[in-house]
Amino acid sequence: MMITGVKVTLILLAATTVTSLVLGTVIAIMRISRIKILRVLGTLYVEIFRNIPGLFWILFFYFVFPDLLPWGLGVKLNSYLYYPIVAGILGLTVDNASYVSDILRSGRLAIPHGQREAAISTGLSRVQQYLHVLLPQMFRITLPPLGTRMVHNFKNTSLCMAIAAPELTWATQNIESLTFRGIEATTIATLFYIFLAGIMVSMIILLEKWWKIDVSSISHSKA
């Protein structure tokens, strides 16, 4: 059960890290876009998903979301063995993406105008400006808060116990109530969380080194 717990937690972590980064990036780009309707939608997204607890969204995707779907699909989802995990991924993603987009947006604001002007004046298209000039810098500038956010998201995977997704915290709880070997289970879970968070932090530090860029250098030339 502990092993399954670790597996499910890892799945939740891996899936939501990727999906929330992608969704968060899309929302961030919407919010800094020239097109007003995209900006409004992006802001609306952040205001809705950031201001309502992540746990609510997990419960929402588990209990409410299937009912909103066309009838057949909802029933199928409800009977799907792994639906708690899917609902957990959805809930964590929409929650975390709102923070990610906010962090990335602040990164965009920290890039001096000249960067885009240089890109424009060499003829790069808007998409190319984002891909090669703006986004790479947004991720570099915001790496520290983004990393913290991802560790936070990792801890939030434990919220999925509320919908009985068999992740580590749920497993620990279950072992305790079934076998009364809660102390051992809790110890293992604690060590695992610390260990994995440690790995995440080290990866972030490594990335920072690999990107070996003094972040302050990006905004040294405010014209």
Partner: protein, 255 residues
């Protein structure tokens, strides 16, 4: 090559370019000077439409900038721009700064773009710094890489906006040298600068701007040494510390 016809531009209802008429021939080197806020940068930035004008027309190499059908990417690919603060991409090495646009806009292969970039780095004397990040370069080196980055697009026109004014004095000449050799190769250049030596050496004409207007255009000695317009005189003597010497025939009694 570049033609301004009655160009006007305002920011927040304030005219910053007033009825600009100017024609720049192929291969000409134009220096623009004038006090802060005169509109020099704005004028320069209208040439590649970083700033659109409100009315009038600008024609660059046969392209009408007011025409919505004008392909801006094609226009900008033909015009190199060098900025006061270099604006190198801090997350890319010198060589990658240079190869980005040729690869993405011109469609060069990585190999072709790298070869071209290495030639240009050699030309600006920085081949040995090809893998350095901008933070690891001095200001003068950064600006030379920025010039190479613009040249890599094989532009027909180069615009410079105070390319040396953010540099320590001892680094200015290495950048000016590159610009001088570029001018001698016949590049069409529009340069906002207060480097009088550079202007004397290579400028065909100097444009003096104040308050959004072109007040005077002439050969370098005419503008620097013997300006006609009172505002030009005032500016030259205050900024360049050039009192009105009168090396020329015309006697100027107010000195």
């Amino acid at each position: 090559m570049i033609k301004f016809i009655g160009a006007n531009k305002s920011f927040n209802n304030r005219l910053v370019l007033k009825n600009i008429n100017l024609e720049i021939a192929k291969g000409e080197v134009i220096v623009i000077c004038g006090p802060s806020g005169a509109g020099k940068s704005t004028l320069l930035r209208t040439i590649n439409k970083l700033e659109p004008i409100d009315d009038g027309e600008i024609i660059v190499d046969g392209m009408y900038l007011s025409d919505p059908k004008t392909d801006l990417t094609a226009l900008r690919a033909e015009i190199g721009m060098v900025f006061q603060h270099f604006n190198l991409y801090p997350h890319k090495t010198a060589i990658k700064n240079i190869t980005l646009a040729p690869r993405k806009v011109r469609g060069l292969s990585r190999k072709e773009a790298t070869e071209r970039a290495e030639k240009l780095l050699e030309k600006v004397g920085l081949l040995h710094r090809r893998d350095a990040y901008p933070v690891q370069l001095s200001g003068g080196e950064q600006q030379r890489v920025a010039i190479a980055r613009s040249l890599a697009m094989e532009p027909k026109i180069m615009l410079f906006d105070e390319p040396t004014s953010a540099l320590d004095p001892e680094l200015i000449n290495e950048v000016l040298d590159v610009m001088v050799s570029l001018a001698k190769e016949g590049m069409t250049m529009v340069v906002v600068t207060h480097e009088i030596g550079f202007a004397q050496k290579v400028a065909d004409r100097v444009v003096f701007m104040d308050n959004g207007e072109i007040l005077e255009i002439g050969a370098p000695p005419d503008i620097f040494v013997n300006p006609r317009h009172p505002r030009t005189k005032e500016f030259m003597s205050s900024v360049f510390h050039i009192p009105v010497f009168n090396v020329n025939q015309e006697e100027d009694q107010d000195f």
